[in-house]
Amino acid sequence: MSKIHVTTTVNGDEVEYLCDPRETLLDCLRDRVGLTGAKEGCGTGDCGACSVTLDGRLVCSCLVLGAEAEGKEVTTIEGMATGDTLHPLQRKFIEHAALQCGICTPGILVAAKALLEKNPDPTETEMRYWLAGNLCRCTGYDKIIRAVMDAAQEMREAS
């Protein structure tokens, strides 16, 4: 099967790759672009470990084809910090011990950032429903929610 040539933007950089029409955006990010921060936990859009944004919209990259990224802007966990300055969410996740194994962390951070961009002052319930698509098996979510709330407050105060 002949491959498709894709030109896209990932974390602000123009990248090109050749992909099989069946390959997902997640496969392409991990295997063709070399960014392994997005994880495959399920491959069916149920766990959110592969969360990225596509033209600013939060998606499960396992449910997007690699070919669909043509001409679009993809943002992944690798694009979240600015140089060596962590995003407040990243910093708060470390401070609050909001991760144990850390496999779900990239997806949850990307999803939480997308939430705070839409709604800088979400209630706990809104956070819990927004993040309901991101499974964490280690923490019971308590410290994750606290970290997101704390980051949201800090970002509101800074703006």
């Binding site: 390959e23 392994t36 921060g37 495959e40 690798e78 951070l109």
Partner: protein, 746 residues
């Protein structure tokens, strides 16, 4: 071992610093199992049986091998013969021999230049099956007419005449049951069932293996224990143990399920045949169908109680299936079922039963939650019928230091009473409940584990400390080790670097299992530090020209131990380290042992929930975990263990179950249908850390990982009983089951 914490004030232990690997894990930089690749690497894929039980008549891979890009196919014929015992079980599980034993059992594997080609090639492998009768339910598997999974699998413990699917039988107890029950004012008997749950780690199993014709190999994988992986892979492939070097990646959850192997020997077998490194990554449905979920259980409990709440006698029969192999953790279930309580007359019977399901693996306190569900449900019912307070009644019967355990020995210092008192004093216990709301209480226990442990510390030339341990960091244990090393050396936390060493670097280490990492690797780190400190003191003594015994170590400095030792300015660890090349060479410390001073951890949980009478759905309103940590090294990660364990237990109690169709196939092998708790299902999980120091650890540590999953099953069931007025005896308490119970109440 002497407990230092009684006399010692801690400087670092008990603080909450950032974890050393935090930056890597919030930036996507941390390398997990599937993130590793090798030059020239092939991709492997595994063909799995669609049948629950079938004879494999023929496997023809001709067409697959003809596909461009396919480099090797392996079947059981590519593995050595003559294995016995658990080695054979593992080999049979990673690649089926004469029969496919469950839906998802591996029958062949292919290595190709891409994952897509490997998957395409699987479809070209032709397998002829003769489908056999199957059984997936534990009680049905023990019935006379049940299909036999495998003749001759039973061990010596099984009395003659029992069905061949019963592979282990155990009885234990003491006292006079009849007299005990006669002394009771109320005796209850009830049967209970729990369904199999999966550990549900978000990271599927992944590995890259390279094995040459010379029998030397390397393996990178996500695992809780790479020495276990080495032992299992080399046994399954007929290699010498130390010729395989295993390096663990970061691990994306395990909860017991990554203490064994499923794909690793297959990747190595493919690599040996193709002469190239081979990577295998499981899909989620492969994880659910063909890794190691926990056992399902069927249990009969009888307990007697006096009017004032004293348990007079207890007996239980526990039947558990562990899939198509021996190994259901029924020995632990029988051991721990009644372990919370001081009971003179007690008896346990256990059956380990084979079915056509995947080979069970450890899952967080393996065997304990099932027994706790049955026993703590019955205790709640006894309290209810006798109008007794569930916490007061538990306090009346609770074990303490010196109590002879229902499993034999006397308890060392333990903290059950302290957890019950803290739970009772918590405001949640007296918060008023609304309509359709209920409150449940339950306690639980895990005995914890020590296990083979080897650790090293080495001093850097600038006086910083490098710690090498062999237990993968699954939930922040690098931070715990760094805190303990900082405390022992008296150096800042940030001056310690903790490495997870590969199998070529340290002696054997058991996995991060049994809640042992912070206890055992922590103990080894502290003892290795003490050895290094002795050497640091010796260097100072030599410099000062005094005896090493006349030097003490204090807060990162060598000092003369008193006026008689002489007057010398203290030497810092950095000063000694800077000169060590010319004062005798590198300074390091080692410690190896199988520490047996692990102290068990008790916990008590309170859950408040509301049941929707229209749908039967339960919503958790409030949840409290109280547990004994001995000494919390990094309290935030202790709380995290409590919270995570509780939520896994809530999932097991309310939603999670293996659902098999009449055809013996797993009906819910994706996360959409195997429903683990999500953020919107839950409230905050409140925690209280009780600290009854463990005398077996220099700082008093008890493992805390596993106890937390034990109380939630009965606590949730007790709360549902409180809410709907009906006692549910079969988990999970899914909305349809609860709704049926509410309707039946009518």
């Amino acid at each position: 071992m002497a407990l230092d914490s009684d006399t010692q004030k801690f400087k670092y232990i008990g603080t909450r610093p950032d974890r050393p690997d935090g930056l890597d894990k919030v930036t996507g930089r941390a390398r997990f199992g599937a993130d590793f690749s090798m030059p020239g690497m092939l991709h492997g894929a595994i063909l799995r049986s669609p049948h629950a039980h079938a004879k494999i008549l023929k496997i023809d891979a001709t067409k697959a091998l003809a596909l461009n890009g396919v480099k090797a196919v392996v079947t059981r014929a590519d593995f050595p013969t003559g294995l016995t015992g658990e080695d054979w079980n593992i080999q049979e599980n990673v690649m089926a021999g004469e029969k496919a034993l469950y839906d998802g059992h591996a029958v062949a594997a292919v290595a190709a230049t891409s994952q897509l080609i490997a998957r395409d090639a699987l479809k070209l492998i032709e397998v002829e099956y003769e489908v056999l009768r199957h059984v997936t339910d534990v009680d049905e598997a023990m019935a006379d007419d049940a299909p036999v999974i495998r003749e001759g699998a039973a061990d010596y413990s099984v009395p003659e005449g029992m069905h061949p699917n019963i592979v282990r039988y155990m009885e234990s107890g003491r006292g006079d049951l009849e007299a005990g029950f006669a002394a009771a004012d109320l005796v209850l008997e009830q049967s209970y069932k729990t369904e199999a749950a999966h550990q549900g780690y978000i990271e599927p199993h992944a590995c890259v293996g390279q094995l040459g014709a010379d029998g030397k190999g390397e393996l990178w994988c996500c695992t809780q224990g790479h020495w276990f992986v080495r032992q299992m892979c080399t046994a399954v492939l007929g290699l010498e143990a130390t010729q395989l070097r295993v390096t663990p990646s970061e691990i994306g959850g395990g909860f017991g399920g990554k203490t064994t192997v499923f794909i690793d020997p297959v990747a190595l077998a493919l690599s040996r045949k193709a002469n190239r490194p081979v990577k295998i990554v499981m899909s989620r449905s492969e994880v659910l169908r063909a890794s190691g979920p926990t056992s399902s259980a069927s249990m009969d409990i009888k307990m007697g109680m006096t009017r004032d709440g004293k348990i007079t006698a207890a007996s239980g029969t526990f039947r558990m299936q562990g899939g198509a192999f021996p190994g259901a953790p029924v020995d632990v279930t029988t051991m721990l079922a009644f372990a919370n309580y001081d009971i003179a007359d007690v008896h346990h019977i256990g059956f380990d039963v084979m079915t056509n399901r995947p080979k069970q693996a450890a899952y967080r306190a393996p065997g304990a939650p099932m027994g706790a569900f049955a026993v703590e449900s019955m205790l709640d019912e006894l309290c209810r019928q006798l109008r007794l307070d569930p916490i007061d009644t538990r306090l009346k019967n609770a074990v303490k230091e010196g109590t002879r355990a229902t499993f034999g020995p006397k308890f060392p210092p333990v903290g059950l009473i302290e957890t019950l008192e803290a739970a009772k004093a918590h405001p949640q216990y007296n918060t008023p409940l609304g309509p359709n709301q209920g409150r449940g209480v339950a306690s639980g226990y895990w005995m914890n584990w020590g296990g083979e442990t080897s650790a090293s510390v080495a001093i850097g030339e600038d006086g910083t400390v490098q710690v090498s341990i062999g237990t993968p960091d699954i939930g922040g244990s690098r931070a715990s080790m760094a805190l303990m090393a900082a405390e022992a050396f008296g150096v800042p936390y940030d001056n310690v670097r903790v490495n997870i060493a590969d199998t070529g670097t340290l002696g054997i280490n058991e996995p991060t299992h049994g809640s042992r990492a912070t206890f055992a690797s922590g103990l080894a780190t502290v003892e290795a530090a003490k050895e290094a400190i002795g050497k640091l003191c010796k260097r100072a003594a030599d410099k000062w020209g005094i005896d090493a015994e006349a030097v003490t170590w204090e807060d990162g400095f060598a000092k003369p131990s008193g006026p008689n030792a002489g007057e010398f300015p203290p030497l810092s660890i950095a000063e000694i380290a800077a000169e060590m090349g010319s004062t005798g060479g590198p300074i390091s410390g080692h410690f190896e042992s199988s520490p047996d001073g692990f102290g068990g951890s008790f916990g008590t949980h309170i859950v408040d929930l509301e049941v929707d009478p229209e749908t039967g759905r339960s919503t958790i309103l409030r949840y409290l975990v109280v547990q004994d940590a001995g000494k919390a090294i990094h309290p935030a990660y202790v709380e995290g263990q409590f919270q995570g364990g509780a939520v896994q237990g809530i999932g097991w109690a309310l939603n999670e179950e293996y659902i098999y169709g009449a055809d013996g196939r797993l009906q819910n092998p994706i996360f959409l249908d195997y429903r683990v708790p999500v953020a919107s299902d839950l409230p905050m999980i409140d925690t209280i850390i009780v600290e009854v120091p463990n005398p077996g650890h220099p700082y008093g540590v008890r493992g805390v990982g596993e106890t937390g999953i034990t109380p939630p099953l009965p606590a949730v069931a007790n709360a549902v009983r409180d809410a709907i007025g009906v006692r549910m005896t079969q988990l999970p308490l899914t909305p349809p089951r609860v709704l049926a119970a509410i309707k039946g109440r009518g």
